[in-house]
């Protein structure tokens, strides 16, 4: 079948012989006459390091095997065909009696879940897909060490340094089977984590950063840490909040993914089917009158299969502001009569029409760090508390801190202008920055509207 059953995942002499339950689960399902089901089996291991300054505070390892089983039950209610479903978690070491009780209980619950009928996605057994990551040729310890080295490479200064860091190296095999023939599996590697940068002069401040890599991009991490050190220095210089008012704001880096996730979320079949979103293919979802840059966004497949075993591929989500794809899992796609695509997290977009210098040619407030930048997919509001921003008043650039932004993408989307420069992250590859005019900022003083 696939890797972890036959040999130790870390290639060392201490073999891990996990009890693989998938076939036992299928047998129990058969005994219970449960004909429709899905089983997701995940076998994973991790190596984890927790640092305070340059000292390892705690080291951890995990070795885990998990089974998510969904049972489906067709029935009729008031003359209409239904398909109920209920998901459970089974554990290694569960005996047959307990497994039977849990699955039976789930099957009875499924009979009460009155969702309109749909078909499960079909398929056939496919060859396991090993990871192409360059972490695959290393042990997890080696991979973690490589990225820890990159993390601390630029931590050489007295006044600004890494306060703390957490690094997680993970390796996983996942297998998805269902009663309609789907039998697929794939492997992933990642090294992810977070770190806090502290600058102690002229004031003691910190900034928070996270990272996630599927390939050993040590140089990329080293570069990001350098930028984080510079950003934190700037934060230490910032003492005041901007004055309350309306600003042209620049958002950049990680915040771009959050901002544009609005379109990803609103084009999901679960949102559309439940009428939380009115998106339709062919509709100008960015608005009728686009004065700024019209968005083109592509959905990028990060894994070869969705959690339902649907083969994932890259797809065009929107083109020049017009929606091209609705995406989502099997059930809502069936209801809507469209192809199930699987659920996407990763987007890419061509860069914009102006250089960053051009975006910055007129006064702006460039927020580089929020406490927690949020986009509300329901209301379209975005915002958060400003931890560091650069205010350009037409003459000079001043670092500021404090206050908050509260804007609406529904108001902004017709005049967003994107940068020609690019930014790449785990789930985003697109313009580095966007300029949005007329966004409300709460700041130092002033109560409008009294």
């Amino acid at each position: 079948m696939y890797g972890p059953r036959e040999e130790s995942m870390q290639g060392d002499s201490t073999e891990r012989k996990d009890e693989i339950l998938t076939e036992k689960i299928r047998a129990v399902l058969g005994q219970l006459d449960i004909e429709l089901y899905q089983i997701v089996e995940s076998v994973s291991e991790s190596v984890e390091c927790f640092f305070i300054r340059k000292k390892l505070d705690l080291k951890r390892r995990t070795a885990l095997t998990d089974y998510g089983v969904t049972v489906f039950r067709p029935f009729e209610k008031e003359g209409k065909r239904m398909l109920g479903a209920s998901a459970v978690n089974l554990h290694p070491g569960m005996d047959e009696e307990e497994m039977r009780a849990v699955l039976q209980d789930a099957y009875e619950a499924a009979a009460l879940v009155c969702n309109p009928y749909y078909e499960l996605n079909g398929g056939r057994r496919q060859e396991p897909i090993p990871s192409e990551s360059d972490f695959a040729g290393r042990s997890l310890e080696e991979s973690v060490r490589l990225m820890v080295e990159a993390l601390y490479a630029s931590d050489t200064q007295e006044e600004v340094f890494l306060n703390s860091a957490e690094v997680f190296g993970k390796h996983m095999w996942r297998r998805i089977v269902n009663s309609c023939g789907v039998d697929v599996s794939y492997e992933t590697y990642s090294v992810s984590g977070e770190y806090v940068v502290q600058c102690i002069s002229p004031q003691d401040v910190e900034t928070y950063h996270s990272f996630s890599y599927r390939d050993a991009d040590a140089e990329g991490l080293r570069r990001d840490v350098e930028e984080a050190l510079a950003m934190t220095r700037a934060r230490a210089e910032a003492v005041r909040a901007p004055k309350a008012g309306e600003y042209a704001i620049l958002l950049s880096g990680k915040h771009m993914e959050t901002l544009l996730s609005y379109y990803l979320s609103r084009s999901g079949t679960s949102m559309v089917y439940q009428k939380y979103s009115n998106y339709q293919i062919g509709a100008p979802v960015q608005g009728e009158d686009i004065q700024g840059d019209a968005l083109t966004i592509e959905l990028k497949a990060k894994e070869p299969y969705s959690i339902e075993g649907i083969p994932m591929k890259d797809r065009v989500l929107m083109e020049e502001g017009v929606l091209k794809t609705l995406h989502g899992g099997n059930r809502f796609a069936y209801y809507m009569g469209i192809e199930p695509t699987g659920n996407y997290k990763c987007i890419s977009s061509p860069t914009g029409s102006r250089t960053l210098a051009e975006l910055k040619a007129r006064p702006y407030l460039h927020i580089v760090s929020f406490s927690d930048f949020q986009m509300d997919d329901f209301s379209g509001h975005f915002g958060g508390e400003i931890r560091l921003a650069f205010l350009y008043d037409g003459e000079r650039v001043t670092p500021v801190t404090g206050g908050s932004v509260n804007g609406s993408i529904l108001d902004a989307q017709g005049h967003m202008v994107f940068s020609k420069e690019r930014y790449r992250d785990e789930n985003y590859d697109g313009p580095y920055a966007v300029r949005i005019e007329g966004v409300k900022v709460a700041g130092e003083q002033g109560c409008f509207g009294e």
Binding site: K59, R60, A87, A244, Q274, F378, A442, G443
Partner: protein, 477 residues
């Protein structure tokens, strides 16, 4: 009232776990084993969707071993344990403890800790409940939720959806070490009703949350509020964008709870003291809030969803008075932070699950009540807002900032509610300024345990927070 029963799985593995402990104690100065068996189910109904099944976050069965060789700590999390596995597990732990040289590049070293002192402790405890949701059954639960949903949808055609859900978690945790043999069985249950209504492209939503340390008895509280919730959602369709500024505000207990949690709860987590990441460390013994404010945190401080008998490191639950009449008295801590700081652990060492590290985490966090009424607070304001329905928050213990997203601000003018609503609101500020500005507090205190708390963006644990209505001066945007 009935007692939550012990997990049969934990019972069946206890002897084997004790053998594992004994085998590891042959090699290590300190060993602890935490075994968890938890089951969590969720039920939900809405206009076009129903669900009933186990939560993958709250359902977990596994083990975490923590060892010290006298200087360094390591942890190994696993979920397969059978006869014949002990040597393999001990081998993994040995490899882990010998891995530092392989993990650490040049220039990095490993912290040294002393072994935690332990007192002998044998403990067994179970929380109470009235109605077992498993005995009540999926049929009755879904029927109850559906009835509430229909009632909500019937209020107006303008209600796009009424989503009603509930969840419970029942768990057994066994903590073993050289001196300790502790077991607890706990159950909590929560419910929520959320409404959506559309205003063109924009969806306005409103939610109501219910919780108890116990079982399905919480469901009976949900039905009474449905029409009120639907009415507020319809009001939100007329809401205006917030006008940024600093205002006198009355905060509902739910908003107070979020402020307590984000501003002060996170700010006094002592693992942040260890890292010199919390400004609060410098203010112990000083005024950080109005003299009206007394703040608690503890799994033993209230009966809510974050109540337990002992934490994930075997420390008994406390009721920690964090602020007393405005003065910061102490923080909350896990075992390792307490060892570093030379303080006593407070029973706040919590893991998201056996798969994750233990951090200092909040439990039930709240302000005590005062003597004023909500009506008196509103009447005292020339121009300001009544804040309701918090959404989310983020901590900033370093700079003692606060960010809270709040759904509703009701305008107050000349001591009366005007009927105008503003939404959404970003609440920010410098924590001591906000807390020192508290000038009135109601006698009524409410806690809500419907939410989860992250350490940043991960490590999710169940918490409750709350307090009275408070009047304070706050920056809104």
């Amino acid at each position: 009232m009935k007692k939550v029963q012990e997990s049969l799985f934990i019972q069946s593995r206890k002897a084997l776990l004790k053998r594992l402990l004994a085998q590891l104690l042959e090699s290590y100065a300190y060993v602890s084993v935490l075994a968890t068996d938890s089951r969590s189910k969720t039920y939900s109904v809405s206009k076009r969707n129903m669900g009933a099944g186990e939560s993958s976050i709250g359902t977990a069965r596994g083990f975490v071993v923590k060892v010290s060789d006298g200087k360094h700590y390591g942890e190994y999390s696993f979920n397969q344990l059978a006869e014949g596995d002990l040597d393999r597990i001990c081998g993994q732990v040995r490899e882990l403890m010998e891995s530092s040289d392989r993990l650490l590049p040049e220039g990095l070293a490993e912290n040294e800790f002393r072994v935690p002192p332990e007192e002998e402790k044998e403990f067994q405890g179970s929380t109470d409940y009235e109605i077992d949701p498993e005995e009540m059954g999926a049929d009755a639960i879904l029927e109850h939720l559906s009835r509430i949903k229909e009632k909500g949808l019937a209020v107006s055609d303008a209600i796009l959806d009424c989503h009603v859900n509930c969840a419970y978690q029942k768990y057994t945790k066994l903590f073993l070490s050289r001196e300790k043999d502790m077991e607890q069985n706990v159950m909590w249950m929560t419910g929520a009703i959320s409404f959506a209504a559309s205003r063109g492209e924009e969806i306005k939503d409103y939610y109501m949350s219910y919780s108890n340390l116990g079982g399905a008895e919480v469901l009976s509280r949900m039905e009474a509020d449905v029409e009120t919730g639907a009415g507020i959602t319809l009001e939100l369709l007329k809401s205006q964008p917030m006008v940024p500024g600093e205002y006198d505000c009355v905060c509902s207990p739910e908003v107070t709870g979020m402020i307590v949690h984000e501003a002060f709860g996170h700010g006094v987590e002592m693992d942040m003291f260890v890292k010199k990441r919390a400004q609060a460390e410098k203010f112990v013994g000083e005024y950080v809030a109005s003299e009206l404010v007394t703040m608690h945190d503890g799994a033993g401080a209230a009966s809510e969803t974050a109540t337990y008998f002992f934490d994930d490191e075997g420390t008994m639950a406390h009721d920690t008075v964090v602020i007393e009449k405005g003065i910061l008295k102490r923080g909350i801590s896990d075992l390792q932070s307490a060892l570093t700081l030379g303080t006593e652990p407070t029973g706040n060492g919590r893991r998201e699950s056996f798969r994750r590290k233990a951090y200092t985490r909040m439990t039930n966090t709240f302000f005590e009540g005062g003597k004023d009424t909500k009506e008196e607070m509103i009447a005292s304001i020339d121009y300001g807002f009544l804040l309701e329905n918090p959404d989310s928050g983020m901590e900033d213990p370093k700079n003692w900032g606060i960010q809270c997203m709040v759904n509703i601000a009701r305008e107050i003018k000349d001591g009366k509610l005007t009927g105008r609503i503003f939404s959404p609101i970003v609440l920010t500020g410098y924590v001591p300024d906000l807390l020192k500005s508290i000038s009135m507090m109601s006698a009524e205190v409410r806690l809500d345990g419907g939410g989860m708390c992250g350490k940043g963006y991960k490590e999710w644990v169940k918490v409750s927070d709350g307090g009275p209505y408070i009047k304070a001066r706050i920056r809104l945007g």
